[in-house]
């Protein structure tokens, strides 16, 4: 077994384990923390595929920003009696199950469409597309325009947020 395979199986096993913990834990904070662990494993898997940029983004954005937001919301909602969540809301559960099933079908579809074997990992191609440097060059050449529009989007969001959240205007 090569080191790469070892990494893959190790990270995969921890990832699946933490994923199971997310849905089985009764305590929502435990679920959220398990999800963070899951995200870290995923980031590790991206690294083995030479996708440094996505790996870093996975940690900064998902494990960092989004999960912190999740935890804040959980703590703000103060879900002491999580039993209330698990007993009722059957309609929502059905929708949730439907969505999960849809995602499963999608993954199966991708697996089926690659039934004649997955393409072999192409080291050179992976290095030429996944590194921070390559993505940075793309961002400032081909995608310069959308990149600049994003700055407008953020400015508009700041103006809107200040307007809505500022305690006293003038």
């Amino acid at each position: 077994m090569t080191l790469e395979q070892l990494m893959f199986y190790g990270l995969g096993a921890v990832g699946i384990g933490s994923g199971l913990l997310v849905v089985t834990r009764r305590n929502p904070v435990m679920s959220a923390l398990s999800l963070v662990l899951n995200f870290f494993c995923l980031a590790g898997l991206y690294l083995t595929l030479n996708a440094q940029f996505i790996a870093v983004i996975q940690i900064i954005v998902y494990a960092g920003a989004i999960m912190v937001l999740f935890l804040f919301v959980i703590m703000l909602l103060n879900l002491r009696d999580e039993r209330a969540l698990s007993d009722r809301l059957s309609a929502r559960k059905i929708i949730g199950a439907g969505l999960a099933f849809g995602l499963l079908l999608q993954v199966l579809y991708i697996l089926m469409s690659a039934a004649d074997g997955f393409p072999q990992k192409d080291e050179a191609l992976a290095v030429s597309t996944g590194t921070v440097e390559v993505i940075g060059v793309q961002l400032f050449t081909t995608f310069l325009f959308p990149f600049e529009i994003t700055s407008l989007l953020l400015t508009a969001a700041i103006v809107g947020a200040v307007l809505l959240a500022k305690k006293k205007l003038d």
Binding site: L144, F145, L153, A156, L163, L164
Partner: protein, 473 residues
């Protein structure tokens, strides 16, 4: 490499961006009051429409194929700037009356217009998505502009939550289309379309795109948010998002479905035709039961989304022209109608119900006449703009073998006459017992004059308007 042409084609976008940054700077430095921001916004929008007018006969892609400027996108830029000018004109009296006139309104208004112009000139799904988000962010905030009013908070929150949900659909659809084509560029998708149009992955992506854009245009069954949000938001904002927001979303829908996908006669076109029929029927029938004018126009805007979808479902160049002509007619008419409602509305949010308009013609005959003009145009009575729009859209549907859809459209238009003409009956054939409302201030009068004149001009000279955005037709 970027060349001089890239910047030339994107000139309207630059002038809008410069204007909005200028307003932010003057607001931050407290150089002028909100009035100065209004002045800057209107000037910037005038310059933008001028620049877009210069681009009417240009066409080409800019910034590595991210945006495409042509007659249609330049024309829509002018229309959106016009909607912005009219909104800015009526906003000051409206908000000053409520003690809520702030410069931020114009910043968000201009940012929203930048997003809309991006949607109309997008040549890449990424640009399209960013445009939609930029527009939506601003509209979410504008819907709750007067922060202390519960109704507006409810409206903004509802719009935000459902809008974020729709954006997720849209983004997922874009991802799936990218997965099946290998590119987000609309030209590349158009080239690959014939080969992949029946792939499940691509169809799923298209379906999600329709869900996302269907929400933005408020087509049945994605219209649930519209009545509550339209009713709760400040009336000037409602007018703006019902017209400019819908125009931009329909321009994006027409560009993707007709120009890029070439859906004519496909299953996708059938799905759009079904949505169109459902929107026309539900919008018009439920509008009959409304007693609040803002809510009535919200359902009417759902119905108009149905008529417009009929043009998209036709999937032909004729349908494309019909959609743009209809958008012009709908935008000028509805903007005017909301300007009247905004003037008639009291500061405690009363005065928007149908009963409040009883006998309006007796003490404000001019305003009542203008409102009647808008109502005739919305019904689709010649020679006003609304008739011409419907004529072109239904004609395109018939030519594309969607005769049944055109019949549904004509029948539901007849139904719509009931509630539009009811407003006129209320204003003209009942005795006034309500309070006296003073004449609107000059800016509102100017806005009413512009829209009323355009309702007639578009209705009488449709071919001139058509030539602006369809030089070949």
């Amino acid at each position: 490499m970027l060349t001089y042409t890239d910047f030339l084609l994107a000139m309207p976008l630059f002038s809008l961006t410069v204007t909005v940054l200028l307003i932010i700077a003057t607001e931050a430095a407290r150089v002028g009051r909100a009035r100065f921001s209004q002045f800057l916004a209107i000037t910037g929008l005038l310059v933008t429409s001028l620049l877009a007018g210069l681009n009417l006969r240009e066409s080409g892609v800019a910034f590595q194929g991210m945006i495409a400027t042509d007659a249609a996108s330049s024309y829509l830029t002018i229309l959106l700037s016009l909607a912005g000018i009219v909104t800015a004109l009526v906003a000051r009296p409206y908000f000053e009356h409520r003690d809520a006139h702030r410069g931020e309104f114009y910043i968000l208004l201009l940012f929203a217009i930048i997003g809309m112009v991006l949607m109309a000139s997008a040549n890449d799904l990424i640009t399209l998505f960013l445009g939609i988000e930029l527009m939506s962010f601003c509209l979410y905030v504008l819907a709750g502009f007067e922060r202390t009013k519960d109704k507006q908070n409810e409206s903004a929150l509802k719009y935000f939550l459902l809008g974020a949900f729709a954006s997720a659909f849209l983004l997922y659809g874009i991802a799936l289309i990218y997965g099946s084509v290998g590119s987000t560029n609309l030209d590349a998708i158009a080239r690959a379309y014939a080969g992949i149009s029946n792939q499940p992955l691509f169809l799923l992506g298209t379906a999600m795109l329709i869900v996302g854009l269907g929400f933005k245009v408020a087509a049945v069954p994605f219209h649930m948010w519209a009545p509550d949000v339209y009713e709760g938001a400040p009336t000037v904002v409602t007018g703006f998002m019902a017209t400019a927001g819908k125009s931009a979303a329909f321009a994006a829908l027409a560009i993707v479905m007709i120009r890029t996908f070439d859906i004519g006669g496909s299953t996708t076109a059938d799905v759009l035709a079904l949505l169109a029929a459902a929107s026309m029927v539900l919008g018009n029938v439920v509008a009959i039961a409304q007693t609040n004018l803002k809510r009535m126009l919200a359902y009417s805007s759902v119905a108009h989304a149905g008529y417009l979808l009929a043009g998209v479902a036709a999937g032909t160049a004729e349908g494309f022209a019909g959609v743009f002509l209809y958008l012009t007619a709908y935008t000028v008419t509805t903007l005017g109608a909301f300007a009247v409602i905004g003037w008639h509305e009291r500061t405690n949010d009363e005065g928007t119900s149908l009963d409040d308009y009883v006998g309006l013609s007796q003490h404000q005959p001019v305003i009542a006449a203008v409102m009647a003009l808008y109502m005739f145009s919305l019904t689709g009575i010649p020679p006003f703009a609304g008739f011409i729009g419907k004529y072109y859209v239904f004609m395109a549907a018939v030519r594309a073998d969607l005769t049944w859809l055109a019949i549904v459209g004509v029948l539901t238009s007849a139904v719509s006459a009931f509630y539009y003409l009811r407003v006129i009956v209320m204003m003209y054939f009942r005795e006034r017992d309500g309070e006296h409302i003073p004449l609107p201030r000059i800016p509102v009068m100017i806005a009413l004059g512009i829209t009323a004149a355009l309702v007639i001009v578009v209705g009488v000279l449709p071919s001139t308007v058509l030539q602006l955005f369809m030089p070949a037709m």
